[in-house]
Structures are given as structure tokens and as C-alpha cells.
Point group: C2
Chain length 140, copies 2
DNA sequence: CCTGGATATTTCATGTTGTCAAGTAAATGG
DNA sequence: CCATTTACTTGACAACATGAAATATCCAGG
């Protein structure tokens, strides 16, 4: 076993990113659960709050099969948070759109999420700018 | 609606972290799938490769109910990657331990994961150190 | 020692998320 | 106008997750 490129700083960064991922998920699920939503439902509701979206596009955003989205929307619709509308431009398409109550829930959800994520950015403005640039380059 | 603290850099950082989380998951799932494992199975197998672990502790690490771990270990055991051993110190406890093949799979898995994560750290040593410090403080 | 309460694991019922294959309906381009 | 493609749904099935109840074991106080 050849001694690998075991730069200790790199190892640390990888571990820290793992920690960030874990923490992000925990807080996201927690915020969703506090509104009786699952993570997937919260994600979709948040998406629809931006704009009504065809099923197909939801699947693309979620990176899953369209048949999966059917079930998620079914459950949100069953709870009166979302409705299916025809797309006037294409009768094959169904637009998923939030109801009034869905919009209110999405609003409250976003507030919990902001609140949950804010501590993550407990850095000075200059540091946040540095972090932003490093993350950007990391993802490039 | 009072104009919120909408520091654009903070918003950007939050979005970037979301991107990192998404990407991390995709690559993790992909690496796991390339060894015919689900994400949860890969996580557990990786854990057990460190040391044999009681079911209860696995549940704590995964932050899930112990009854859930039973199924995950069942499936890993069914594929000959893991075995249940008695704990000599406490007959209630079962230690999940990787088999020979489990260890080999974990090893190969770790290599794919390193490979998958490495591009994320495509920064100079100095930049990685800065990133490490910022992430550390962010998680503090 | 013995008993009652706590602990570790499993089983069962149930729900959500995910896949894939097949089916229906509507659009589109030769 | 017909063949193909596209959008969505349905059904079958697996993995993951929870909660409640059952079993076996441990442990502490009497």
C-alpha cells in the first residue's frame, strides 16, 4: 500500500465538509418536521413557492424519476398545500402550484430555514466573502 | 413585511453550501452504487471497517431508531459483507463486524470516495488552510 | 438471592421516498 | 395523417424510517 497523498489539511477539510453536510441535513429535516413536512415535501413546496412548476421539471430539480414526484405532490395536495393546474399551452402538462395555505406554510418554513442556516454564516462580512469565493472555486 | 437582513453575500454563501451538500450527496450515492450499495449501507460498512460496533451505537451514529439498523445490517449480512457477533461482556449486545469481503469492499469504497471528494479540494494548500479555518469557525 | 426496572435487540405495522415498466393522452414533425 | 416523442400516472417492489410491543439480559436495592 503506497503512502497516499495524505495532506492532513485536505483530510481535515473533507471531514469538515462532511460535518457541514450532516448539520445542514439535520437542520433542514428538523425545520421541515416542525411544519409536519418531510424533507422532500419541504423542498418541493419551497420550489413551488417561487413559481408553479410542471411535474417533469420538479423531477429534474430533485434529480429523481417523474413517477416519484406524482406521489410527493399527491401527499401535498391531499393536505391542501398544493394543487394541480392544467397548463394552457400544453394539455399534457400539469402545473403544481401552492394553495394559499401552501404559500403561508412555505413562508413560515423559509423563516425557520433562514433561522437555522444563519448561525452557519457567523463570520465577518469579509470572511463570508472569502468563504464564498473559496466555495465557488471548489464547486467550479 | 420588514426588509430583512438580506446581505447578498450571506445569501450567496447559504446557496453555495446548499450546492456543496447536493453535490456531496450525489457523489456519495454514486460511489456507493458503483459497489451495489445504498448510501446507508455504505455509511454503515464504512463505520464498521473502523471497528465492530453494537447495533445501538450504529443507530446513534446514524441518528435513527435501532429498529432501523436491524434491517440495514440484515441486508449487509445477507450479502456476506457483515456478520453479527456476540459481545462477550454483555449477552444482550450484538456487535456488527465486517467480514473479509466486507473489509475489501469498504477499502474500495473509501478509495472511490477519496477520488470523488478530492476535486472538491482543488485549491492551493494555503487556500485549503483558510477554508478549513472558516469552516471550523462556522461549525463552532 | 430475587425481584423490579432499565437496556439491547428484534418483529410487526405503517408511511415516505425511490426505481422501473407499462399505459394513456397529447403534441409534433415528416 | 401517422409514427414518434413527450408528460404524466399507475402498479409492483425495495430501502429506509418511525413507533409499539415482545424477548432476553443486566443491574441495583431489599
Amino acid at each position: 500500500m503506497p503512502s497516499r497523498r495524505v495532506d492532513p489539511v485536505t483530510v481535515e477539510v473533507v471531514e469538515l465538509i462532511g460535518d457541514v453536510v450532516t448539520r445542514y441535513h439535520m437542520e433542514y429535516e428538523h425545520a421541515a418536521a416542525s411544519h409536519q413536512l418531510t424533507g422532500a415535501q419541504a423542498k418541493v413546496l419551497n420550489l413551488l413557492a417561487m413559481e408553479p412548476t410542471p411535474m417533469r421539471r420538479i423531477a429534474q430539480k430533485l434529480r429523481c424519476e417523474p413517477s416519484n414526484v406524482t406521489g410527493i405532490i399527491d401527499r401535498l395536495e391531499g393536505r391542501g398545500l398544493v394543487e394541480r393546474r392544467p397548463d394552457p399551452a400544453d394539455r399534457r402538462v400539469k402545473l403544481a402550484a401552492p394553495t394559499e395555505e401552501g404559500l403561508r406554510t412555505a413562508e413560515r418554513l423559509r423563516e425557520s430555514l433562514d433561522f437555522a442556516r444563519e448561525p452557519l454564516a457567523g463570520l465577518s462580512p469579509a470572511e463570508r466573502a472569502v468563504l464564498r469565493d473559496l466555495l465557488k472555486r471548489m464547486l467550479a
